[in-house]
C-alpha cells in the first residue's frame, strides 16, 4: 500500500515548517499539521491518516497520549506512529518501542533523509503485518 496521508503534530512552528518542506520537496504526500494533540485528535478522522508523525512533548495532550487515543478508535488500532523527539534518553525510545511505536527519530533530523526514513519505516511496518 502506498503511503499518502501523514498526520503531523508538533507545537514548534519551526519544526512544522521544516517537516512540511521536507515532505513537500522530497516526497509526494498529503500532510496535515497540528500544533497540539487536542486539535489533531478532533480532526484526524476526516483526514483518515495512514501514518502519525508526532512530537513527544506537547502542551495539553502529549504525542504518546494522542497516539493512544487515536489507536482506540476503530480502524486505527494498528496505525503506525513515528515519534520525533528531542528527548535523548534511551529510556524514552525504549518505552515508546515497547508500547508498539513504529520508530523514534531523534531531533535534529536531516530533512532530505526524513522522507526516505519514513518510507522505509512504512514499508517494514506493513511487511510485519
Amino acid at each position: 500500500m502506498e503511503l499518502k496521508r501523514i498526520l503531523h503534530a508538533d507545537d514548534d512552528p519551526d519544526i512544522r515548517e521544516i517537516v512540511q518542506m521536507s515532505l513537500d520537496f522530497f516526497g509526494d504526500f498529503e500532510l496535515l499539521q497540528f500544533p497540539d494533540g487536542a486539535s489533531a485528535f478532533e480532526a484526524f478522522q476526516d483526514f483518515k491518516p495512514q501514518l502519525l508523525l508526532l512530537d513527544y512533548m506537547m502542551p495539553g495532550m502529549t504525542g504518546p497520549e494522542l497516539w493512544q487515543n487515536i489507536a482506540k478508535v476503530e480502524g486505527y488500532d494498528r496505525i503506525p506512529a513515528i515519534f520525533l523527539t528531542a528527548k535523548a534518553e534511551a529510556s524514552v525510545s525504549e518505552v515508546l518501542m515497547l508500547k508498539g511505536a513504529a520508530a523514534v527519530i531523534l531531533k535534529p533530523f536531516t530533512p532530505d533523509t526524513l522522507v526516505k526514513e519514513i518510507q522505509s519505516i512504512w514499508e517494514s511496518w506493513n511487511a510485519k503485518r
Binding site: 514548534d12 519551526d14 519544526i15 513537500d24 512533548m57 528531542a86 534518553e89 531531533k107 533530523f109 530533512p111
Partner: protein
C-alpha cells in the same frame, strides 16, 4: 577482714550485722545458762541418788546392827548365863553379812564378858568400860537416855578406829539402884565401814560425790559429826535425814569437784555461738560487700551505657527488655519511666517506626510501609541479629545493629544516621536533578539545532528546491521572460533570506541558552561578578519594553512601562539581564492581558516590578521556581521551553546587588515579580555625571581630532 568488707558498706548494714552477732551471742548465753542449770540439776540428782543409796545402806547396816544388838539384849535379859556359842550364833550372822562389823560384845555391869568373833578381839574381853573414859562417854549417854547410842569414830581397844553401837540393857529385878541397868551390848564397826568409799564411774571416769554424815537433834541441830569431810555440810550439799538406832542422822553429799559453776559443754556452746556470730556477721557483710560491688559494677555499666550517643538495647530470649538507655526512649518516643525491664519489644517500637527495609532484591532496598510489615521485619531482624536501617515516625533514620549474646540475649545498638541518610538522599536527588537537567539541556539545545540544521540543509541544496528549479527553467526558456525571471528570483531571494533570518533567530535562541548555562555555572561557582555604577533604572526598563513590545504584541499582549526616574547603583548589563528575563518570562507565561513594568522610589531603595496577567503559580510551587533546573511544570506536557535557570540567575544577580527578588502570585490570575536595588547617593550621582561629562568631552575631542586628521589626509590626497 570483715572491716575491709565493711568499709564500703553503709552504717545500717554494719549495725545490722552487729545486731545479728549480738543476738546470736545472747542466744548462746541463754543456752549456756540453761545448760548450766541442767547440768547442776543433773549433779544434784546424781548426788541425791548417791545419798539415797548411802542412806539405804546405812539403814540396812544399822538395822542389822540394831537387830543383832536387840536380840543379844533380849538374850541377856532372858538368861543369866551366856554361852559363847549362843552369842557367836546371834552375832555371827551380822559379821558374816557385814564384814565391816569388827565385833559384837556383851558387857554386863560394863565389863566385857563375851565378844564375837573372838579372833582379833580377845584382848577386849575383860575391859572395864568405866576405866576407859573414851569409851564410857557413849555408854553413859545410852544409860542416861535409856536408848541405843551410836558413837565414833573412836580409838578401838582392838586397835584402829571405828564406830560403836551401845545398846543399853535393862533387866527387871536386878540392879534396882541403877534402874535395872544390866549393862551394854556393843557392836563395833570399822571406821571405813560406815561410809564405804566408792569407785569412780567406770564409764565416765567421774569421781563419786563426797558424802558426809552427822547426827542431828530432833530439831535438826548438829549433834556430832560421824563420817566424811565436815566441810561438805558447808558446801550447799544435797541432804537426807534418816532415823536409825534411836537417833537422827543427816547425810550430805556434794560432787567430788564441788558444784560446777558451768556445764563442761558451756564453753563449747559459748564458743559455737561466738563462732556462728562471727560467721553470720561476716556473711552478712560479705554478701552486702559483693552486693554493693555488684551494684557499683552495674551502676558503672549503666552510666557508661547512658553516656553513649547511640541507643543501646538488651533483650532476653522472649524479646523482653532487660536494659536500654535514654537515647532509646528518645528515639522510640517512650516516656523514660515506661522504659522498664520486661517491656516487650513489639510494644516498644509499635508506634515509633515508620518503615524500614524489609527485604532486598538484588541489592535494591525495597521499603515497605505499614506497622505490621515493619514490625515483623524488625522482629525477624532482632531474632536473626541482623543489621539494617529504620525510619522513625519523626522522619529520622536509625541504623540498627543487633547481635546475639552467648546467653541467647539480643543486644542492639541504634545510631542516628539521619544526617548521612539526608546527605545520601540529597546526593541522590542532586544526581537525579542533574540527570534531569542534562536531559532538559539536551532537549532545549536540540530544538533550535533542529531548526538551524533543517533550514541549513535546504539552503545547502538550494538548487534542488522547486523554486530554484522553476527559476532555472524560466531562465533556460528559448525566449526568457525577464519579468517572470525577476519575480521568481525575487521570490527565491526572499525565501532564502527568510530561511537565513530563521536560522539567525534559532542561533540567537541557542546563544541565549548557552549564555544562561554559562551564567548559571558562574553563579554556582560564585564567579558571577557585578560592577555597580550609577544607572537610570527607568531608562533600562523603557528600552527593554520598547525592544520586547513586538514579541508581546505577537501574542496579543500589551506591554507597558510605568517607570519613574530612579538612579540606582547597579551593573547595567546585569540589571538589563534581570528585567529582560522577568519580562521574557511574563510574555512566555501570559496568553492574554497586560504586562506592566514598574520602577518606583521607596526611601533609599528603588523597587522594580514586572506584573503579568498570566497563568500564575500555585502557592505550593512558589518556592520551587527559584530552584535550579526547575520549571513548575516538569512533565511531558510542559508548554514552555528553556532551562528554568533564568530566575535562579536573576535572583543571584539581585542578591549580588544587595537586593532581594520576590514573587507574589495567584494561580490563573497572574504573577508579580519584584526586586529592590540601592538608590544611588547624591555624591555618587554627581561623580557619575562628572565622569559622563568628562567622557563626553573626551569623545568630542577625539571626534574633532579625527575630523582634523581626516581633513589633513584629504588635503594630502589632493596635493598628490
Amino acid at each position: 577482714m570483715i572491716w575491709k568488707f565493711a568499709r564500703n558498706i553503709s552504717h545500717s548494714y554494719v549495725t545490722f550485722a552487729t545486731s545479728v552477732a549480738v543476738i546470736c551471742l545472747s542466744v548462746g548465753f541463754i543456752l549456756m545458762q540453761r545448760e548450766d542449770a541442767s547440768y547442776l540439776k543433773g549433779q544434784r540428782i546424781a548426788a541425791n541418788a548417791e545419798i539415797r543409796q548411802t542412806a539405804n545402806e546405812l539403814r540396812e547396816k544399822l538395822f542389822g546392827m540394831g537387830l543383832v544388838a536387840e536380840r543379844l539384849a533380849a538374850f541377856a535379859r532372858n538368861n543369866d548365863t551366856y554361852s559363847q556359842e549362843a552369842i557367836d550364833q546371834i552375832g555371827g550372822q551380822l559379821v558374816r553379812h557385814h564384814p565391816e562389823v569388827i565385833s559384837v560384845a556383851l558387857a554386863p555391869d560394863l565389863v566385857v564378858s563375851h565378844v564375837t568373833p573372838r579372833t582379833g578381839n580377845q584382848k577386849v574381853v575383860g575391859t572395864i568400860y568405866w576405866q576407859v573414859p573414851g569409851q564410857f562417854v557413849g555408854i553413859a549417854r545410852a544409860y542416861r537416855d535409856r536408848a541405843p547410842v551410836f558413837v565414833g569414830p573412836i580409838n578401838l581397844l582392838q586397835g584402829g578406829r571405828g564406830y560403836i553401837l551401845r545398846y543399853p540393857v535393862f533387866k527387871p529385878g536386878k540392879y534396882s539402884d541403877t534402874g535395872n541397868f544390866w549393862g551394854v551390848v556393843s557392836v563395833v564397826l570399822a571406821e571405813k565401814g560406815l561410809l564405804p568409799a566408792r569407785a569412780a564411774d567406770p564409764h565416765t571416769g567421774e569421781l563419786p560425790p563426797r558424802v558426809a554424815l552427822r547426827e542431828i537433834s530432833r530439831d535438826g541441830r548438829p549433834r556430832q559429826h560421824l563420817a566424811g569431810d565436815p566441810s561438805v555440810f558447808a558446801s550447799n550439799p544435797v541432804t537426807e535425814t534418816i532415823s536409825v538406832v534411836g537417833g537422827h542422822w543427816q547425810i550430805a553429799a556434794v560432787p567430788a569437784g564441788g558444784w560446777a559453776a558451768h556445764s563442761p559443754r558451756s564453753p563449747w556452746i559459748v564458743g559455737s555461738a561466738a563462732l556462728i556470730s562471727i560467721l553470720l556477721a561476716s556473711a552478712i557483710l560479705m554478701i552486702r560487700h559483693y552486693a554493693v560491688k555488684s551494684h557499683e559494677t552495674f551502676n558503672v555499666l549503666s552510666h557508661a551505657i547512658e553516656s553513649l550517643e547511640e541507643g543501646f538495647l538488651l533483650f532476653d530470649r522472649d524479646n523482653k527488655l532487660l536494659m536500654a538507655n535514654k537515647r532509646v526512649a528518645e528515639y522510640y518516643r517512650i516516656a523514660p519511666e515506661k522504659l522498664v525491664p520486661g517491656l516487650p519489644y513489639d510494644e516498644m517500637v509499635r508506634h515509633a517506626i515508620r518503615r524500614q527495609p524489609a527485604e532486598t532484591v538484588e541489592g535494591t532496598v525495597v521499603e515497605l510501609p505499614g506497622a505490621e510489615v515493619t514490625l515483623n521485619a524488625e522482629m525477624a531482624e532482632m531474632a536473626e541479629a541482623e543489621d539494617g536501617v529504620q525510619q522513625l515516625v519523626d522522619g529520622r533514620w536509625l541504623k540498627t545493629s543487633n547481635a546475639v549474646t552467648p546467653e541467647g540475649y539480643i543486644v542492639g545498638v541504634r545510631f542516628d544516621v539521619s544526617a548521612q541518610k539526608s546527605a545520601q538522599l540529597a546526593a541522590e536527588a542532586a544526581t537525579r536533578q542533574q540527570s534531569e537537567f542534562l536531559s532538559t539541556v539536551s532537549h532545549e539545545l536540540r530544538t533550535p539545532l533542529t531548526a538551524i540544521a533543517g533550514r541549513a540543509a535546504f539552503l545547502a541544496k538550494a538548487g534542488n528546491l522547486p523554486a530554484s528549479k522553476q527559476l532555472m527553467a524560466a531562465i533556460r526558456k528559448d525566449e526568457p521572460d525577464l519579468a517572470e525571471i525577476e519575480n521568481l528570483a525575487q521570490a527565491q531571494i526572499e525565501s532564502i533570506a527568510g530561511q537565513g533570518q530563521k536560522i539567525i533567530n534559532a542561533s540567537e535562541l541557542l546563544l541565549s541558552l548557552v549564555n544562561d548555562l554559562l551564567d548559571w555555572a558562574k553563579a554556582e561557582g560564585s564567579e558571577l561578578k557585578v560592577v555597580p555604577e550609577v544607572v537610570l533604572a527607568n531608562d533600562i526598563a523603557v528600552n527593554i519594553v520598547d525592544e520586547m513590545k513586538i514579541q508581546a504584541q505577537a501574542k496579543g499582549l500589551s506591554l507597558i512601562c510605568m517607570c519613574a526616574p530612579a538612579r540606582v547603583m547597579a551593573d547595567p548589563s546585569r540589571l538589563r539581564q534581570v528585567i529582560y528575563n522577568l519580562v521574557g518570562n511574563a510574555i512566555k507565561f501570559t496568553n492574554k492581558g497586560t504586562i506592566t513594568v514598574t520602577v518606583r522610589n521607596k526611601g533609599a531603595r528603588v523597587i522594580i516590578g514586572v506584573e503579568d496577567t498570566g497563568v500564575g503559580i500555585a502557592q505550593e510551587n512558589i518556592d520551587m521556581i527559584f530552584e535550579r533546573f526547575k520549571q513548575v511544570d516538569g512533565s511531558d506536557t510542559r508548554s514552555f521551553g528553556g532551562f528554568g535557570l533564568g530566575l535562579t540567575i536573576a535572583r543571584r544577580i539581585v542578591e549580588l546587588h544587595g537586593g532581594r527578588l520576590t514573587v507574589t502570585s495567584k494561580l490563573g490570575e497572574g504573577s508579580r515579580f519584584e526586586f529592590d536595588l540601592p538608590k544611588a547617593s547624591a555624591a555618587a550621582s554627581q561623580a557619575a555625571t562628572k565622569a559622563a561629562e568628562k567622557a563626553e568631552r573626551e569623545a568630542r575631542t577625539a571626534a574633532a581630532l579625527a575630523e582634523h586628521e581626516a581633513d589633513d589626509s584629504s588635503l594630502e590626497t589632493a596635493r598628490t
